[in-house]
């Protein structure tokens, strides 16, 4: 999987790159509008992560350019498989206008700065599933199988009834296996900005406890472990 990261802040770019490389992606980076524009022309990518606030141009124009390129490419080469790469917008601005405009232009997702790397990872996986593995929406992790189209969860071929939040939790854990996930990162992915309250961690704990119990009741070995008292680790017991 080839991913292009467009971000002008070197420290952030480095962190994203290292994190995603560990996930096994092939990463290309661009730190300016010009470089990104060049990179888009030169190669094809499966997913592009674009920061809107570039010093030498509006990130939204990159999306426009990408669409134009894609149109001419599919016309001239008439390649049946050619499709737009997945697009994720990163913006410092959480105003609705940017978000709507971005989604209107064809971006698949929108993340507001600052974000957690596991969250970016989960979102990239989700976009890739939709864009690249269009037909195959079945996610597997040990005995757990998730159909991301119908939101159906099976454990050992048995249907598991999960609430919407439990389903999102499971998806986030499955996107980030064997990785320490802090409660803050988990809460932000599942509840967004709604959960910045005093005892929200307690609330999160209740949900995780329920999910863990349902998974184990379904016959799945215990995959969810607390780690260092402050986070969770989703790993298949060896």
């Amino acid at each position: 999987m080839k991913i292009l990261l467009v971000e002008d802040e070197p420290a952030l770019l480095m962190a994203m790159r290292q994190f995603l490389e560990k996930e096994g992606y092939l990463i290309t980076t661009a730190t300016s509008f010009t470089a990104a524009s060049q990179a888009i022309n030169d190669y094809g990518y499966d997913c592009i992560v674009i920061d809107l606030g570039l010093p030498d141009g509006d990130g939204l124009n990159l999306i426009r350019q990408l669409k134009a390129n894609n149109l001419t490419a599919s016309q001239s080469r008439s390649m049946p498989g050619t499709s737009m790469p997945g697009l994720i917008i990163i913006s410092a601005n959480d105003s609705l206008d940017d978000k709507l405009l971005g989604l209107e232009l064809g971006s698949d997702d929108y993340i507001t700065k600052p974000f957690h790397l596991p969250e970016l990872n989960a979102r990239i996986k989700s976009v890739l599933r939709r864009r690249v593995f269009g037909g195959n929406s079945l996610l597997r992790f040990g005995a757990i199988a998730v159909d991301t189209q119908s939101h159906r969860v099976m454990v050992q071929e048995q249907r598991l009834e999960l609430t919407e939040k439990e389903y999102q939790l499971l998806l986030f854990f499955m996107a980030n296996p064997n990785r320490l996930l802090t409660k803050a990162a988990i809460a932000e992915y599942v509840w967004g900005d709604h959960m910045d309250m005093a005892d929200s961690h307690d609330f999160l704990y209740t949900h995780i406890k329920n999910l863990r119990r349902k998974l184990m009741d379904g016959g799945c070995p215990d995959c969810l472990k607390t780690r260092y008292g402050a986070g969770y680790l989703f790993a298949y017991p060896s």
């Binding site: 802040e9 994190f19 609705l96 700065k113 600052p114 803050a184 260092y228 986070g231």
Partner: protein, 424 residues
Amino acid sequence: MSLLRKTLLYLLLVAIPVAVGGGWLFHTLIHRGIRYEVDEQLSSDLAYVSNQLSSAGTLPGRERYRIGNPHVTIVPASRQVLPVFTDTLTYDLFEKELVPVRKLRATIQVDAQAYLVTVTQAVGEFEEIARLLSVSIIVVFLLLMIVLIALNGWIARQLWQPFYTLIEQLRQYRLDARTPTVFTASNIDEFSQLQVALNTMSQNLHRQYAVQKEFTDHAAHEMQTPLAVVTTQLDQLLATEPLTDEQVAYMEQAQGSIRRLVHLNRSLLLLTKLDNQQFTDQQQVNLSEIVEKQYRNLEAYAHHRQLNWISHIVPDVYQRMNPYLADVLFSNLIKNVLVHARPGTNTEVTLTASGFSTTNAGSPLPFPVEQLFGRFVKNPARPESTGLGLALVEQIAERYGQTVQYRYNAATALHTFTVLFPVN
């Protein structure tokens, strides 16, 4: 009252007394003039009679002359009297009515005999002419006024047209327009000056607005980016092994502080944008949908806090607002309920066509009520709060003509927040 009407009113206020007073003055002057001329005529008649009497010598021989002129009577008098003018009424044989006459009586001495001579002159016709003249003067004056007023109205409308155009342009003025409004030029100096001044003002305003907008946009980017760097680097640090419980606890606390900073930053930017009037986009927003969504979002958490989470939401309540701000307003108030409600109590969220209200049980405010909507006012027991939520609520509500009220019932320990929508 428009400038035009005011002008017309003043014109009329002046014109009517001038017409009436002028008519009266004119009438008096003519009246006097006529009397003076009539008196002169009478005097001259008297002199003529006196001459005739003197040359005739004796009266009886001139009997026929006297009868031939009904306006002159001559009778012998026993004593001298001074000439006197009087106004009387005399029966006119031809017109068969009493007519006003001017009479001059005087004695004339011819030799040893004195005669009392009375010369009369009918003045009814002259008075008639004087009245006619006065009335026509008034009528002509009033006609002139009407024509003047009509003309003035028409001219004023033409002259003030550029002014009305400017007003219309000002009314449609939008600070966030892509280019500054250019006001229409006029060939009238005064309006031309006004137009130039307005253009300068418009350009300055537009520039300032752009600078402010750019500043807030940049501020958002410049502050969120380092925060994003810290967040991701902490994530990376968390991915290293081995870690101790202590280290992870520190990192998690750091993440919590970053989140607080992010929220603070967003709220401050929002307040700045509100102050700068950067939310000009307005539309009819379905508040019922927004409130319902916010309410559902927090439902599970409310149940977790053992709250009896009750709502009365009238469907399809619309208000003209910016959708983003509407979202902030209602989510802040609903979150407020959730955070401050005492566990195990009832909370209520109500939306009707006339307003929105929330009720929850909780301890009294730890600070004076006047500070409730102030910036950075927070409960010391909840240091993680930004203290900006209610300030935002009030500012947004104020922007759309809504009033926010707060009540605390000490007996039931119920806090009630009410947002009243403007009546129209």
